[in-house]
């Protein structure tokens, strides 16, 4: 009777039979966990000599790193190992289903399939759990032996252990499901891959295809399909679990992993109950599903690979997508049919499913190519729109966003919604009209900087917030002047203006210090009391509230303010953060601080300028040649060949040094040191700056001014 056959004895026998797997697991995990941890800890503690004095400074890093030694975050080998062990466990445990002799042997015994399933899963789990638990404990012990263990860290290590276990379980069950769907080990491996990545592949296609075929599509990290791509795919969740150090943000991944495990377990169990013993040796265990699987695999995979090939080769254009997709779908049909039949002469046996796959792919491509759903020309009914925001590309470079360590990848970062929808609605409609007349965002991106299109149009993302709460994003190419007028109109509303300019969202309490940059381009710290800081920011806000948007977009700023805040995320590092990539001075006392630059000071910002004057600082408006040690000019090949700077260069004295470079863009470097040459060059340079609406036109030619005092330097645009 079944009850007389002990589960424990069967599990023990299974472990004994697959003892090689247990041994392999133990050895590899031992090397990758406790041994690697000791090496890492010793290396880490040696590199941070003041750990003993200020252990709290390193707490944050250790809270991530030590659990990462368990979950795999700190070593890319560990996640790969966990993945491979899970696959090995599943295949070795259930591969008897793919061999008639072994299947007859096991299934003839008076043991129900449910018991075999439980026994094999339990034995596989134990063979991973025990060595992994022991090695995790040894990692924790290693950390404790180096004096870096605490109750909180121990809890995080336990959580990381759970993450690793969950990650293994998910891949194991995905492989078990694949084994149940197939009759051969090689097809089981392919099916494992499919089960692990298929949801990711299909879901990510939604975004990728829209991005390829639709001009107005704007990639949003918040799209449902992208989220589903991550949370439906075992492989993506596995990556999330093993590539973090037991952080709190993993809760969603953990819950998803648990749900995926439950679904995979139930599906595998059910399939095993119905698994036909005669399937051993066949490609699929349920031959009736062959055509369905073929269609389900061929259509998305062909589209995915087509896009991937284009991505790798840099080839763009929907005609390539269509051509490659059709070619790949034909090849895939042949490959899958070969896997099914194992006979080249029978490649056309499943011609119906091949035809459906090819036709399905073609239909999708036709649907997208001719925009049969009207995606690009979609406009919401005005009465269904609750509010609209628009964000020209220039906002990204113009507006400094205070919380730089927040999620600044969100496309809605600068989305300031207004319920005064008419101006923006009309602007969006003009974008659709432009698109219909051939002026699209892509056209603008590909236009030369000095083209008429580039000068008269800008790209902007519109976000419609519908009455239902749904948000819809579209990117249009719109007329610059019309956009400027619209923004000026919107900024007449103080609430909108306050929402748009980040200075109004700045947490003043968090500001450590303020620096100012003038035309020299080098920062000068302002030694202000907290009250003075607030006074300066009050004055700055007052200027912004009264500023003319059109003026702001045409004037050259006198300088800019830089706000410094403590950077909690790098509290443990010993290196200072460079606060201005273009400036080589003025940041020596800003270690462990992060800066937010781009608070431009325009000539009509009288309140700000007056306050700075009160504080003893008057921004300089011209660079005195006497302050400059030398200037390095970097000229592009195009400029050299066009003779754009011939007049300038011909006036240089003999002291100018010429170098020929062999970089891709810069062809010639010239260093001038003579005062008359420096004065001449200073006439031709302007500071780099961003415009509120005009996209910044990057110039390939630049000049690096090296100052005499302080060894500072600054890069300018050469004109």
């Amino acid at each position: 009777m079944t009850s007389k056959i002990s589960y424990i004895k069967l599990i023990r026998e299974d472990i004994r039979r697959r003892g090689w797997l247990a041994a392999l697991t133990g050895i590899i995990l031992f090397l990758l966990m406790p041994v690697y941890s000791l090496l890492w800890l010793d290396s880490f503690l040696r590199s941070v000599s003041d750990y003993a004095l200020h252990p709290e400074m390193f707490q944050e890093q250790l809270f991530t790193s030590v659990p990462g030694l368990i979950s795999g975050y700190m070593s890319s080998f560990l996640p790969v190992t966990i993945f491979c062990l899970a696959v090995l466990s599943a295949l070795s445990g259930f591969s008897f289903l793919h061999s008639r002799e072994r299947l007859d042997f096991f299934h003839a015994f008076p043991v129900k399939r449910s018991q075999w399933f439980s026994v094999t899963c339990a034995a596989s789990f134990i063979m991973f759990f025990v060595p992994y638990a022991v090695c995790s404990a040894l990692v924790a012990a290693a950390a404790a032996s180096r004096g870096v263990m605490s109750a909180v860290l121990a809890a995080k290590c336990a959580a990381a252990f759970g993450d690793g276990l969950l990650a293994w379980l998910m891949i194991f069950l995905a492989c078990v499901l694949a084994v149940m769907l197939t009759g051969r080990t090689i097809t089981a491996l392919l099916a494992s891959l499919a089960v692990a990545v298929y949801p990711f592949l299909v879901m990510s296609l939604f975004t990728a295809l829209k991005s390829t075929f639709f001009e107005t599509f704007y990639l949003s990290s918040e799209s449902i399909t992208d989220q589903l791509a991550i949370y439906l795919s075992p492989f993506a969740v596995f990556t999330a679990l093993t590539s973090s150090g037991a952080q709190s943000g993993l809760i969603a991944a953990r819950i998803t992993a648990a749900v995926i495990c439950a679904v995979l377990l139930a599906a595998s169990f059910l399939l095993y109950r119905f698994y036909p013993s005669e399937a051993a040796g066949n490609a699929l265990s349920f031959p009736a599903t062959a055509a369905v699987f073929k269609v389900l695999i061929c259509i998305p995979v062909s589209l995915f690979f087509s896009l991937m090939i284009q991505n790798f080769t840099g080839v763009s254009g929907t005609s390539w997508t269509i051509g490659l997709s059709m070619l790949i779908v034909v090849i895939l049909c042949a490959i899958i049919e070969f896997i099914y039949q194992q006979d080249l002469r029978l490649l056309l046996k499943g011609w119906r499913s091949s035809l459906i796959s090819i036709a399905g792919t073609a239909l999708i491509l036709i649907f997208l190519q001719f925009d049969l759903a009207g995606y690009d020309t979609w406009r919401p009914a005005a009465d269904r729109v609750d509010s609209i925001s628009f964000r020209p590309d220039s906002f990204l470079s113009y507006f400094p966003y205070q919380d730089t360590d927040a999620d600044n990848s969100s496309p809605l970062l600068y989305a300031v919604f207004t319920d005064d929808i008419d101006p923006l609605y009309q602007l969006a409609l003009s974008g659709i009209e432009n698109l219909e007349s051939g002026i699209s965002p892509q056209t603008l991106y590909q236009s030369p900087d000095d083209s008429e299109t580039a000068e008269n149009y800008i790209n902007a993302v519109f976000c419609y917030r519908m009455n239902s709460g749904r948000t819809v994003l579209r990117q249009y190419c719109i007329d610059y002047t019309q956009a400027q007028d619209t923004l000026a109109h919107l900024c007449e509303d103080e609430t909108y203006r306050r929402s748009l300019f980040p200075i109004f969202q700045t947490d003043r309490d968090s500001i450590h210090s303020i620096a100012v940059t003038d035309v020299y381009g080098t920062e000068q710290p302002l030694h202000l009391t907290k009250e003075q800081q607030n006074g300066l920011l009050d004055a700055y806000e007052k200027d912004i509230l009264s500023a003319d948007i059109q003026e702001m977009d045409s004037q050259t700023p006198l300088g800019q303010l830089t706000l410094y805040r403590p950077d909690r995320s790098i509290a443990y590092t010993t290196e200072a953060v460079s606060v201005d990539s273009r400036s080589g001075s003025g940041a020596s006392d800003t270690a462990d601080l992060i800066s937010t630059t781009g608070f431009y000071i325009y000539p009509d910002y009288v309140h700000t300028l007056d306050y700075l004057k009160e504080c003893g600082y008057v921004p300089r408006t011209e660079i005195a040649p006497g302050d400059v040690e030398s200037i390095d000019l970097y000229l592009s090949a195009e400029s050299v060949q066009s003779g754009k700077y011939d007049d300038l260069l011909s006036g240089f004295t003999d002291s100018a040094e010429y170098y020929r470079t062999y970089e891709d863009i810069i062809e010639q470097q010239i260093t001038v040191t003579a005062q008359e040459d420096i004065a001449e060059v200073l006439e031709h340079i302007t500071p780099y700056r961003s415009f509120i609406l005009k996209p910044y036109a990057g110039a390939p030619d630049c000049a690096v001014v090296n100052y005499k005092t302080g060894g500072g330097y600054c890069e300018f645009r050469l004109e």
């Binding site: 039979r17 072994r102 299947l103 007859d104 042997f105 003839a108 008076p110 043991v111 005669e278 031959p287």
Partner: protein, 300 residues
């Protein structure tokens, strides 16, 4: 009793078993004969619950067998390709069988292993094909199950071992409730061991017959008569299955007991008359020919 009720199984369009209805009674050795691909293994795999019939029922002592551990605990199936775990020696296989078959007789197994001169410490996969089959048979025999299904198990055993195994089967039949079912493509392998034979051909069970009854109900008569009248008179009285003439010698395959057939022949005053028993092979050829099948080509 094992009952097969209208059992059918189809593999990728090939009818491996077609509407088979039969009963295997307890306490006798049942032989399943058929050529390669006749469906013997499929039938045994259905009986032991490895594969599920497409239609029909397989009952073991009245219980359906598929996914029924209680019913399967009464059956031990020895596949035509015995499987042993990688690196497992004879003792480890014994231990495993003793887990899944609680009635496994370890003492008997150990003694039989010694008797068959098999090294219990040797890895099973290092044994020859015949030795693996010996281990497989001994494991099955000692599992203590009521039914032992042997799929081509005797093929590959040398004559001495085969005789020894037959002896063991006979002993088990005497000692306990034991019903072996043995399949083979070689009729001669089975004729001296089986009590009952089932003949499978192209997925169909052509007949099942008790061997003693078959032997006693059919015989071969060779006779020479002085005139045609006597000969015709005899042919009218006999149930002739087959008639062959070689000169004046008449060879008849007839239904009926040997003595009765000879008595009827002698009543016609033949010049010569002799009744001979048929070999099992001849019986089956005759029976199947009567049923409309020509099975000479697949009987060895």
């Amino acid at each position: 009793m094992i009952e097969l009720k209208n059992v059918s199984k189809n593999f990728k369009g090939i009818q491996a078993a077609e509407h088979i209805t039969a009963a295997i009674r307890e306490g006798m050795i049942f032989g399943l004969i058929g050529s390669n691909g006749a469906g013997k293994s499929t039938l045994l795999r259905m009986i032991c619950g490895v594969i599920r019939p497409d239609e029909g029922d397989v009952l073991v002592d009245g219980d359906p067998v598929f996914e029924n551990a209680a019913a399967k605990s009464r059956i031990c199936f020895l596949s035509d390709a015995p499987y042993a775990f990688a690196n497992a020696d004879v003792r480890q296989m014994r231990d495993y069988y003793s887990i899944v078959y609680p009635a496994f007789d370890r003492k008997l197994f150990d003694s039989l292993i010694r008797r068959f001169s098999l090294d219990p410490r040797r890895k099973v996969n290092s044994f020859s094909k015949g030795m693996k089959k010996q281990v497989s048979v001994l494991l099955g025999l000692c599992s203590g199950t009521k039914y032992l299904l042997c799929d081509e198990t005797f093929d590959g055993l040398d004559p001495v071992v085969r005789q020894a195994v037959k002896g063991l089967f006979a002993g088990e039949l005497m000692n306990r409730d034991f019903t072996p079912v043995i399949s083979s493509h070689n009729l001669r392998e089975l004729e001296d061991i089986c009590d009952c034979i089932g003949l499978l051909h192209q997925g169909k069970l052509l007949l099942t017959q008790d061997l003693d009854q078959a032997r006693s109900s059919i015989c071969k008569l060779q006779c020479v008569f002085p005139d045609v009248h006597c000969e015709q008179e005899l042919l009218r009285k006999l149930r002739v299955l087959k008639l062959e003439r070689s000169g004046s010698l008449l060879t008849l395959t007839v239904r009926g007991a040997q003595e009765e057939v000879l008595r009827l022949a002698e009543a016609q005053n033949p010049l010569f008359a002799e009744a001979l028993p048929l070999t099992l092979e001849e019986i089956f050829i005759s029976e199947t020919e009567v049923a409309g099948y020509d099975i000479k080509d697949f009987l060895y």
